[in-house]
């Protein structure tokens, strides 16, 4: 006999699909089958079942090998490291629940840490742009129900957010869009002829690194002003044409991704895209949305926001919160040698930071809390395996449009494996004792 858990929330990407059905054995220990998930989401649930999974903390030995230790020893090492450090970096937080983030922030406040999340290498520049010019946006259901103009700028949902187009953007039939795809015109701006571009009515194969110029050109065209013959490799006629397509819609949306946040101009690309959206609201209704990556990177920004007032790069070292990406951002801190310990939870900087930053982590006291073996876990002094959030433990998460959805537990974690929240709570208690002693 098996049982089916419905309305399961997928803990992979910011699309945060909440319609998965997971068939589990009746002892609730093994996942038998998964429905409605994309291939990546399905793989995530399946990997939780991997036989070779690490289930106990491991401490790096002088020869670089790893030796199994108890959770007690892991808690002690972590608490000691954080309590000793003058300025520890506590990084990650995007693949865990808001409840766990909250406990992490308590610890960070006590030890004067810097709390940064994966936005720092993903949509951090978007957050900077929002701080400079705001952001007119909407929930994904609004797009499904109303949108007839859709731009994907520097993003490739066909690969990064596989169910996005069918659930929310290109294909769904909504209240005012009962013809689905036929109601919509799709524009893709990307230097490659991506899988998403192949589905578009218009593809602008932009000269890489010239998004800021092309966005400006769109804004000039919207105002009907003069333009040079080509901008970013695109002839001005096509730019004026696109401007008319955008103005003639009833409800438009710009989705953008790392193609613009990580490209030269960075926050300025997003800034100008937001201003383009604002300009379009003088003619019709237009919104813009970041294609957030990790399933709860948005939640980390929210919890940091209500607790400290900043969405990432939060420096608590002086007993109050400060913020300034470029100084208090993980890669700048590491490369400049501003921190003396690194705690990573719910992210893999070893794989996703430039190597110069990774080398710094490997030279510092470091703890990696992660269900997986990762490049980070294999260069950290301590690796602490934990239960998969959204598979083996529930918790609140925020979708790319900031809609909170409470992730469900579908199976038990392996015998004796702690959750993020349990491990952090024990570290928090131990840190209290150590700071008290000081």
């Amino acid at each position: 006999m098996t049982k089916t858990v419905t309305d399961v929330v997928c803990p992979f990407c910011g699309t945060l699909c909440d319609d998965l059905e997971v068939v589990v054995s009746d002892d609730g220990k093994t996942i038998v089958d998964i429905y409605n998930a994309c291939v990546i989401g399905a793989e995530k649930f399946m990997h939780a079942q991997a036989k070779d999974r690490v289930t106990r903390p491991r401490m790096q030995q002088p020869d670089g090998s790893y030796k199994e230790v108890s959770y007690d020893e892991a808690v002690e090492y972590t608490a000691q490291m954080l309590a000793k450090a003058k300025k520890p970096l506590m990084y990650g937080w995007s693949s865990t629940s808001c409840e766990a983030q909250s406990v992490g922030h308590e610890i960070a406040e006590k030890v004067g840490a810097i709390v940064d999340n994966t936005a720092t290498v993903c949509h951090g520049t978007t957050l900077i742009a929002v701080q400079d010019v705001g952001i007119p946006s909407c929930t994904l259901g609004e797009i499904k129900n109303r949108a007839d103009r859709i731009i994907f700028w520097g993003c490739n949902p066909a690969h990064a957010h596989p169910r996005h187009q069918s659930r929310y953007s290109i294909f769904p039939r909504g209240f005012f869009t009962n013809k689905g795809h036929k109601n919509r015109k799709v524009i893709v701006v990307d230097p490659r002829n991506t899988a998403t571009a192949k589905m578009a009515d218009y593809h602008f194969q932009i000269e890489q690194g010239r998004d800021f110029e092309l966005l400006s050109a769109f804004r000039v065209a919207i105002r009907g002003e003069w333009l040079p013959d080509t901008v970013a490799g695109i002839p001005k006629e096509r730019i004026y044409e696109a401007a008319d397509v955008l103005k003639s819609g009833r409800f438009g949306i710009i989705f953008f991704g790392m193609g613009v946040t990580q490209t030269l101009s960075k926050n300025h690309n997003i800034d100008n895209a937001i201003m383009l959206t604002k300009d379009l609201n003088d003619y019709t209704k237009f919104s813009i949305m970041a294609m957030r990556g990790h399933y709860n990177v948005t939640g980390s920004g929210q919890v940091l926001g209500w607790q400290f007032g900043f969405p990432f790069c939060v420096d608590l070292s002086r007993g109050f919160a400060r913020y300034n990406p470029g100084e208090t951002s993980s890669n700048d801190l590491l490369v400049r040698g501003e921190v003396d310990a690194v705690f990573v939870l719910g992210s893999d900087p070893g794989a996703h930071f430039p190597i110069s930053s990774v080398k710094k982590i490997s030279q510092l006291p470091s703890v990696c809390v992660d269900p997986h073996i990762t490049p980070t876990s294999e260069i950290s002094k301590l690796h602490v395996p934990v239960a998969f959030v959204g598979v083996e433990v529930g918790g609140n998460c925020y979708r790319m449009d900031n809609v909170p959805i409470d992730a469900r537990k579908v199976v038990d974690p392996p015998e004796g494996v702690l959750t993020d929240e349990e491990f952090l709570t024990r570290v928090n208690t131990r840190v209290d004792e150590l700071m008290e002693a000081k």
Partner: protein, 567 residues
């Protein structure tokens, strides 16, 4: 058994009609009692003013748009952050404080209960997560209904009972407290970039008017007998000449009778009236219409209002009135955030600088104070800043100063750049009314508590009520310079929340025992409404119906108000 006795203070309690007599207040196990044993801890309040903990009826302090305001304004926290202490977390933000600062600052001013004025249902979990992280004060949140597709469809067909059943379902799902209406119809119109600027503008596609939405929601509210009345932010907020729209909206209440078991005698709460009492037809001839509006409010007994006083600060405006925020950013060109929420509502956020050098801002400042000073029944007018829209709630002590001291008002007016023009466009300069402490207690304690249907537990010092008590360094028998008034109400000498001391000498001493208020309403089975709900989730929502409900683990110490509307 924790016992306290607060001795020899000048007590002001409208619930018992006590007007400054020297009296003792006894507390046992979190409640006010007649008397306590000799072992009770004595708090000396001699020479001080004693009131019940204040009740905030309308502020934007928790939820998605508030957090947008925090996250997108790092400059709002620069150089003003309060470090952590042994008892308190670090606390920052001037116009949009963090959740910790929100709890601490309310408590320091003697506030022990606050209501979040606009909860987008789809984001209810977020609102409750912030409420959970807001220390000390009891909180509830008002879900917004005025642009909700279910509501508009039922009311268009005159289906009050179905609207009521849906309201009950939504309050239960979102753990909400009251029926909030923001720019009825106008916010749905905004989804197409449009608006409804009078109560008779039809809503695009839904073919219903704001007047029909407000009337229907008042009827549904009284059908259910909810503790609070319908709470409305009217159409055409902030526009010159909008006072006629305001009067049209208020008049809708004439047809409605209150029906509830909570001692509430009103059917409509009209919020931040300052923003809705404007004359003129452009910013040039912009003027106060507070007299016209307050003349009506004073004689129409089934209405309550709050002021929405402008404090002349740099602040952050935020409202579910999406089209208004777009209008504002077109005026001041400052950063604009907007979120349209599927099937339900929208919200916008824009920073705003209320400058004492700008005529319109000076006039707005005067109108807010006029509304408070023209009030005849202080149990029906409440002091707010529509935090943070007209200014941060941390400015309440300053507003109290202006209301209690004609001298303080004169000093302000004289300091204005356009004082002559401001005087011509307003009534304030000619007003010598000075608010009494008793009237203050009505407007900040007993009044809002009664309007919320909570007069049996909050807003008073009668035995059996919650031991929420504020003691101020303010001797009513002495003369006070204006700034002494502001100082006294900024940092309470002593604040007790449900019998626990939380503030001593203006400093936080405990994170208290905050509770979350919500209204659990029982109605008859309604298969049609449940079918409609399932259908809309299947077709139009982006989350499943089973992932919509806010689970109980999001609420700390829930304080459930039961309503039985089964017929």
């Amino acid at each position: 058994m924790s016992e306290y006795i607060i001795k020899n203070g000048f007590v002001f309690d409208p619930v018992q009609g006590i007007k400054g007599d020297k009296a003792d207040v006894a507390v046992k196990d979190g409640k006010i009692v007649k008397n306590v044993s000799s072992g009770a801890k004595v708090i000396d309040a001699s020479g001080k003013t004693v009131m019940a903990g204040a009740v905030e009826i309308h502020a934007h302090i928790a939820g998605p748009k508030v957090n947008v305001g925090r996250n997108y304004r790092p400059e709002d926290k620069l150089f003003t952050y309060k470090p952590k202490s042994k008892q308190s977390r670090m606390a920052g933000g001037f116009s949009v404080p963090t959740t910790f600062k929100t709890g601490y600052e309310y408590a320091r001013m003697g506030y022990t209960t606050a209501m979040e004025a606009a909860m987008p249902p789809l984001y209810a979990r977020h609102v409750h997560e912030e409420i959970r992280d807001t220390p000390i004060i009891d909180e509830g949140a008002y879900p917004v209904f005025g642009n909700n597709w279910f509501v508009m469809e039922y009311l268009k067909n005159g289906e009050i009972e179905n609207a009521a059943a849906y309201i009950a379902w939504l309050l239960n799902s979102t753990k909400g407290y009251a029926v909030k209406v923001v720019n009825p119809g106008g916010t749905e119109a905004w989804a197409w970039g449009l608006n409804c600027l009078t109560i008779n503008d039809p809503v695009p596609y839904f073919d219903i008017t704001p007047a029909e939405i407000m009337t229907g929601l008042m009827q549904a509210n009284e059908y259910l007998g909810l503790p609070h009345s319908m709470h409305v932010h009217q159409n055409s907020l902030g526009n010159p000449g909008n006072y006629t729209v305001t009067l049209d909206s208020l008049k809708l209440a004439e047809k409605i009778k209150p029906n509830n078991k909570f001692g509430r005698e009103t059917v409509l709460h009209s919020t931040h009236l300052q923003f809705h009492s404007y004359g003129g037809d452009n910013w040039g001839n912009f003027e106060s219409k507070s007299k016209e509006v307050m003349d009506y409010v004073n004689k129409q007994k089934n209405i309550t209002i709050d002021t929405g006083c402008v404090t002349l600060d740099e602040t952050t405006t935020m409202t579910a009135d999406g089209p208004f925020e777009h209008h504002l950013t077109e005026l001041n060109h400052l950063k604009w955030a907007n979120v349209d929420v599927e099937l339900e509502t929208a919200a916008g956020v824009v920073p705003y600088v209320y400058s004492p050098d700008i005529k319109v801002c000076e006039i707005q400042w005067a109108i807010g104070l006029e509304i408070a000073l023209l009030t005849k029944d202080h149990m029906r007018t409440f002091i707010t800043t529509d935090h943070p829209n007209a200014g941060p709630f941390t400015r309440y002590p300053r507003i109290i100063k202006w209301l209690m001291s004609a001298k303080a008002r004169k000093e302000m007016i004289d300091s204005f750049k356009h004082s002559a023009k401001m005087i011509d466009a307003t009534h304030l300069a000619g007003m010598d009314k000075e608010l009494s402490l008793y009237e203050l207690a009505q407007m900040t304690r007993a009044g809002p508590a009664k309007s919320l249907g909570l007069s049996n537990i909050y807003g008073g010092l009668a035995p059996g009520m919650d031991a929420d008590i504020a003691v101020y360094n303010f001797n009513p028998e002495k003369e006070h310079k204006p700034d002494e008034i502001e100082k006294a109400f900024s940092a309470s000498a002593y604040v007790m929340k449900a019998g626990i001391p939380v503030v001593i000498d203006g400093e936080i001493v405990s994170n208290g025992n905050k509770r979350t208020l919500w209204v659990d309403t029982k109605v008859n089975e309604n298969p049609q409404v449940m079918r409609d709900i399932r259908d809309k989730f299947l077709k139009y929502y982006s989350v499943t119906m089973n992932n919509y409900d806010v689970a109980s683990h999001f609420l700390t110490n829930p304080r459930v108000i039961e309503v039985d509307a089964v017929r």
